[in-house]
Symmetry: C2
Subunit: 138 residues, 2 copies
């Protein structure tokens, strides 16, 4: 368990808001996914071997279930492909997992995430052509 990761996520949330963000470690991801599904959740697995994002994103976005996004690294065991409701390719080429997640979420939220401000943030950025301008929120 990477305590630094947990702590740094906690600090970002404290300053910039978004209280529903948190980091957790699970011992058994497969049983976590199975439980998610049996609770009625949808499972999306991002993999360069999957179906093109643009072909499936509308179907996925229209769900009323909670969505779990699974992102693996270089070697992902076959069980995840089988458990996923959707295996989605953000481009059928090698790429960064972080980039894949970013583009998936961008399409899922229809670009609105770029304008998100959390009501519980302490600070707020005022966009500038040059330099930095940060103000207290509220």
């Amino acid at each position: 368990m990477d305590e630094n990761l947990i702590e740094s996520a906690r600090k970002v949330v404290e300053t910039w808001g978004g209280k529903y963000f948190f980091v957790d470690f699970v011992d058994n991801p497969v049983s976590f996914i199975k439980r998610w599904k049996s609770d009625g959740g949808l499972v999306v697995h991002l993999t360069m071997y999957g179906l093109p994002l643009e072909e499936v994103i509308e179907q996925i976005s229209s769900t009323e279930s909670r969505v779990l996004v699974v992102v693996g690294s270089e070697r992902v065991e076959g069980v995840y492909y089988g458990l996923a409701d959707y295996n989605v390719a953000v481009g059928n080429q090698p790429h960064s997992e972080v980039a894949a997640l970013a583009l998936f979420l961008d399409r899922f939220y229809k670009g609105r995430e770029l304008y998100l401000n959390f009501g519980d943030s302490k600070l707020k950025i005022v966009p500038q052509a040059r330099g930095k301008r940060v103000v207290r929120n509220g």
Copy 2:
């Protein structure tokens, strides 16, 4: 200099194509940027303090100059803000630099990057709902 990074990029290009991708390390990024500009290139700096992506992307995309994208980490010195032709925020909140780069490039290429296949790749993925299918290219 991270030889592993260079080697792993080289291997990806060898298998998946895109011969114009390469990794290089520069000792003095500031003078690199200055030379880029004096050669007529455009400099885009991604920073959460900048102007919203959607406000400037059309202007940036319409350039006929070569574009250098600068992505820093937590502490970026002021000089970069001054040298950049555009300081661009991919959301005015803390975020992954990789995610910012991914979304910038996505808007820059108008989503076409998702369908890119390099002619010089040895392998090609055939998208699948489940599992993996890879074939030789050509």
